[in-house]
Structures are given as structure tokens and as C-alpha cells.
């Protein structure tokens, strides 16, 4: 019996010696919280993690009928409409340009990749207090002043919603280099013979080659990049929190889902039941979006 459990040459034992600590830890710190939280979402859990008052789907009902929650989803939608195409276009354009360089390729890649090492907190700080600080000594308003324009109150006005410029540019700066590296790797994998064949067929370098060779060959990379961009946008928290929150609290606009969830679950109410219901709803939305997007782009379909 024991020897069957241990396996031939005790291989099963060794398997668990190697993977056991990791698997147990993952179970404790990933699966248990998840299940516990699903449980909590059916209880009235103010300030407690061992509630007794079962409320059924009431938390889900109040979450879904809360306009603050639904408007946080709208905020995410607007945010991803800006940030996903912008990052995609910029990182692809940078990759195409860097890839065609004959010298200093590593240098330019390093420069664009460098912001990846910067934290969202520090970047938000630079954007909020130095570039877009809404007073005349800010860099953006100084530049506007050169053209005779009036200073803009970047983060503290909703009409017009200039805060989107700040939010989108900070993430663009931080993440473009990461996707540039992914695109560069994709470009390197395109066989050179395809370009030679295209040249023989009379395709003109530039747009035609990009349209018929490069872009289709980058399909797998593009799908992965778009998926990552949407999932990451959905989880945005750091830059929103650090750019918009002030000593007077968080303004009533530009609250993405995680910021909303943060204040529900850990703000004054500490309503962990409601917060857990929100987390479950968000996890389901992410799962659905991921699957739909993967289907739409035909993930797993073989390359032509």
C-alpha cells in the first residue's frame, strides 16, 4: 500500500517534495480566500470575516443596482477605449521603427523599456505634481502658455474631462515599452524568406509589405497584446488612486471598478460581504471578456 503511494523508486514522494510546498501555499493563499469570499458574498459581513446573518443574493442585488458600481464599469469602458488602441498603436509603431534600425537598436529599446521599472506611484506623482499640476508652474501648462493658451485644471475638472489625458498618458508611458518588447520578439520570428518572396512578387516596401506580410504574421502577438491590455486596464487602480485622491478624499468621477471596490470593502463601512460580491462579479466579467475576446480573435486558430 505504502509503496504504491510512494510510486516506483519513490517518484511520487519526490514529486510532492518538490511541488508540495508551492501547491499547499497556493491552495492556502489563492483557493481558500476565493472560496471564503464567495461564501462571504452571501452574508451580511460588516467588519467581520465570520458572519452569521445569511442574506442570499441581497449583496449581489444591491451591487448591481448601485449606480456607483455600474458607472465604475462605464469608467472602465471609456478608459479601455482610450488606452488599449493607444498602447497598441504606439508600441507597434515603436517596434517597427526600432526593428529597422541598423545601429543603436538596443539603446532605443532600453530607453522605451526603462519606464517599466518605474512604479505607478512614482509616475503618478511626477504627472500630478510636476507635469499636469493645474497651476502655472506645471510643465504642461508652461507648454500651453508658449502657445498663448490658458492653463488647464487637469485633474480637478470634469468639464471638459481633461483628467483622461493625465490618466491615459501615465499608463501609456509606463507600459508601452513592455509591449514594444513583445512586438519586437514577434517581428524577429517572421521568416526573412517571406519578405524576399514579397519583393520578388513586386510588393513595395512600406505599407504594402506591412499590410500583407508583417501585420498578418504578427497575429498571435497582436491577440496576446490586446488580451493583456484589456485585462490590465480592467485592474487599473494605482494611477487612478494616486492621481485623483486628495486630502479631501476621492472625487465622485473617474472611479474604475477596483477603486470603487476598495472603498466599499475597506473604506468606512468595511462591508466585506458587499465587497466580496463585487469581486465575484468582476471576476466573472473578466472571465467572460477574456473568453469572448479570445473567440473573436480566433485564439488557437492555426496561423495561415
Amino acid at each position: 500500500m505504502l509503496s504504491r503511494l510512494l510510486g516506483p523508486q519513490r517518484r511520487y514522494l519526490w514529486f510532492w517534495v518538490f511541488t508540495g510546498p508551492f501547491v499547499i501555499g497556493l491552495a492556502v493563499f489563492a483557493y481558500i480566500p476565493l472560496l471564503w469570499s464567495i461564501g462571504l458574498s452571501f452574508f451580511d459581513a460588516h467588519n467581520t470575516v465570520t458572519p452569521t446573518h445569511f442574506v442570499g443574493f441581497a449583496n449581489y442585488g444591491s451591487m448591481l443596482s448601485d449606480t456607483a458600481f455600474t458607472s465604475s464599469l462605464a469608467t472602465f469602458a471609456v478608459f479601455s477605449l482610450f488606452i488599449v488602441p493607444a498602447t497598441y498603436a504606439l508600441s507597434l509603431a515603436l517596434a517597427l521603427m526600432v526593428n529597422r534600425l541598423r545601429f543603436a537598436r538596443a539603446f532605443f529599446r532600453s530607453v522605451f523599456f526603462l519606464p517599466t521599472a518605474c512604479s505607478y506611484v512614482v509616475a503618478s506623482m511626477i504627472w500630478k505634481l510636476s507635469v499636469f499640476n493645474g497651476v502655472r508652474f506645471g510643465l504642461a501648462n508652461t507648454v500651453l502658455g508658449w502657445f498663448g493658451a490658458d492653463p488647464a485644471a487637469w485633474l480637478s475638472t470634469t468639464r471638459p474631462p481633461w483628467y483622461w489625458v493625465v490618466i491615459v498618458t501615465v499608463r501609456l508611458w509606463l507600459q508601452a515599452g513592455f509591449y514594444l518588447v513583445l512586438f519586437l520578439a514577434g517581428l524577429q520570428r517572421i521568416p526573412g524568406t517571406l519578405y524576399e518572396a514579397a519583393a520578388v512578387d513586386g510588393a513595395r516596401p512600406g505599407w504594402q509589405v506591412f499590410r500583407h506580410i508583417t501585420f498578418p504574421q504578427l497575429r498571435a502577438t497582436s491577440v496576446a497584446v490586446l488580451l493583456l491590455l484589456v485585462i490590465n486596464a480592467f485592474q487599473a487602480f494605482d494611477e487612478f488612486y494616486n492621481l485623483l485622491s486628495t486630502a479631501r478624499g476621492y472625487p465622485p468621477y473617474a472611479r474604475p471598478p477596483l477603486v470603487y471596490l476598495y472603498y466599499v470593502a475597506l473604506g468606512q463601512g468595511q462591508d466585506l460581504g458587499l465587497g466580496s460580491a463585487g469581486a465575484v462579479i468582476l471576476a466573472l466579467i473578466i472571465a467572460v471578456v477574456t473568453v469572448v475576446q479570445a473567440r473573436w480573435f480566433g485564439l488557437g486558430r492555426k496561423e495561415a
Binding site: V23, L94, R136, F137, F237, A279
Partner: protein, 278 residues
């Protein structure tokens, strides 16, 4: 025929790249500029690109000012990042090796169980994880900041993929010499896998040093603030001397940039390997 045109296109491309590179570097410059400027140079209505005075004393001021708990926060971050990196490398590499190399009938199921946690976006689990950590009594402790982050499915996945491609002959030679799995791993596999350890290690270290949401949720009293939480408190809350805030941020980021530049080729290799080749 159109070599002149192509030369022009090449020159234009270079000009655009240089302009964008400068633009990408400006925020780093602003960080250092404001960190070494006088308060009036930061807030002067006639803002200038170069500060009028360089004030190296800002650095000393940061470390002497007891009202700004920046040194303690830096120390917390360093402990957390080192412990998280070491722990993750150990746990994830062992798991990755077991999954890649030790035959076990349920190995696939275990692997999918690990991959499944990648599907749960980590940021959505902060509420449930907070629930668990607070019931363990770990709020505002370094333990609470480190232990839950040690089990990275992503790192285990990278190690497994790497070990699948590890030359089997090297291990077979060790096996012939009578080494078991354990000693083969430590004497043959680990010493020959420096690049993957460097790649995963730097990615984990930078991620840990820069992470914000989890330390914000767990580090509720000032003693347990990480440097990101401390910087954020002064960015979003009460005003502080701007030059002190910027010099603190510069101190928090410069060591990381050095590590990043030195180890960049490993990071790039790690990013490239991180799943696109499915």
C-alpha cells in the same frame, strides 16, 4: 531608383525615434530635477527646464527629517522585496522542476490547478486575501506583506517551461553517478540555470518593490508602510515639501533603474518567454 527617398525615410525615422526617446526620458529628468531643486524653483510661476540652483542638501534633509518616515519605509520595502524574491525563486523553481521532470500520474491536473490561479486576476482577489490575512492577525505586519505573495503561479510556469528544455543528458549523467532527484537538482540543474533565475528574480523583485494595492491594504499603520505607500500618502494627502518628496522618490527608483539596466537582457528574455509562444 529611389535610394534617395529611402535615405530620407530612414533619416525621418531616426528623428522621430530620437524625439520620442527624449520625451520618454523627460519624466525621469523631472524627478531628479525637482529632487535637487529648491522649493521656489519647483513652484516658481516662470517655470524653467533647468533649476537655477542645485541643492544636494535635499538628500541629507530627507534622511534627517524625522517627520517623514521615508528611511523606515525604504528599509521595509527592501526587506519585503528581498524575502519575496528569495522565497518565490525557491518555491517556484522546485515546483517547476517537479512538474517538468518527475513523472507522476496526476502531474497534469496539478499543473492546471496552478495555471487556474493565473486566470483569477490577482487584483480582484485583494478583498478575499485581505479577509484571510486579517483573520490570521497579519494586518500591518511584514509577514502579512510577504507570505501571501510568495506563491506565484506565473513564476512556477516560467520555471516549468524552462526546465522542460533543460538538456536531459546532463541529468542522466548525474543519475548514472548515483545522484537522486534532490541532489541532481541542486548540483546539476540549479548551477546551469542562472539566466532563468536572473530573469524571474528581477521581474519578481521589481514587481514586489513597485507593488501598491496589497501594501496599501495590509500596511495600515505607519510602521509597516512600504516606500510606495509612504510616497502615495504624501502625494494624495497632506502637503509636504515638494523637493523632499521628489528626492525620496528619486532615491526609491534609482537603485532599481541600475539593476534594471544591468540585468535587462535577462528581463527581456523572460518577457519574451512569458507565454506568447503558446
Amino acid at each position: 531608383m529611389d535610394t534617395g527617398l529611402r535615405g530620407l525615410a530612414r533619416a525621418l525615422r531616426l528623428v522621430i525615434l530620437v524625439a520620442l526617446a527624449v520625451l520618454f526620458l523627460v519624466p525621469f529628468y523631472l524627478l531628479v530635477r525637482n529632487g535637487l531643486a529648491t522649493e521656489s524653483d519647483i513652484t516658481a510661476p516662470n517655470w524653467t527646464f533647468f533649476p537655477r540652483h542645485l541643492q544636494w542638501g535635499n538628500l541629507r534633509e530627507l534622511f534627517d527629517d524625522p517627520s517623514v518616515p521615508m528611511l523606515h519605509a525604504l528599509w521595509n520595502s527592501a526587506q519585503i522585496a528581498v524575502a519575496t524574491t528569495a522565497g518565490t525563486l525557491l518555491l517556484a523553481s522546485l515546483a517547476g522542476y517537479g512538474l517538468a521532470r518527475i513523472p507522476y500520474p496526476w502531474a497534469d491536473q496539478v499543473f492546471y490547478g496552478i495555471l487556474g490561479t493565473l486566470m483569477i486576476p490577482s487584483a480582484v482577489t485583494f478583498v478575499p486575501s485581505f479577509v484571510l490575512v486579517s483573520s490570521l492577525g497579519w494586518v500591518s505586519t511584514l509577514r502579512g506583506l510577504i507570505v501571501p505573495t510568495l506563491f506565484s503561479a506565473f513564476a512556477a510556469f516560467l520555471f516549468r517551461q524552462y526546465f522542460l528544455g533543460f538538456p536531459q543528458e546532463l541529468e542522466d549523467a548525474a543519475r548514472v553517478d548515483g545522484l537522486g532527484y534532490w541532489r541532481t537538482y541542486w548540483r546539476i540543474v540549479v548551477p546551469n540555470s542562472a539566466p532563468v533565475f536572473a530573469a524571474v528574480g528581477t521581474i519578481v523583485f521589481i514587481g514586489s518593490w513597485n507593488s501598491f494595492l496589497w501594501p496599501l491594504v495590509i500596511g495600515q499603520d505607519q510602521q509597516s508602510w512600504t516606500v510606495q505607500v509612504a510616497l502615495s500618502t504624501f502625494t494624495t494627502g497632506q502637503t509636504v515639501n515638494l523637493h523632499e518628496l521628489f528626492v525620496a522618490a528619486a532615491v526609491s527608483i534609482l537603485p532599481l533603474l541600475v539593476v534594471f539596466v544591468v540585468l535587462q537582457r535577462f528581463i527581456v528574455a523572460g518577457v519574451e518567454r512569458s507565454g506568447i509562444d503558446d
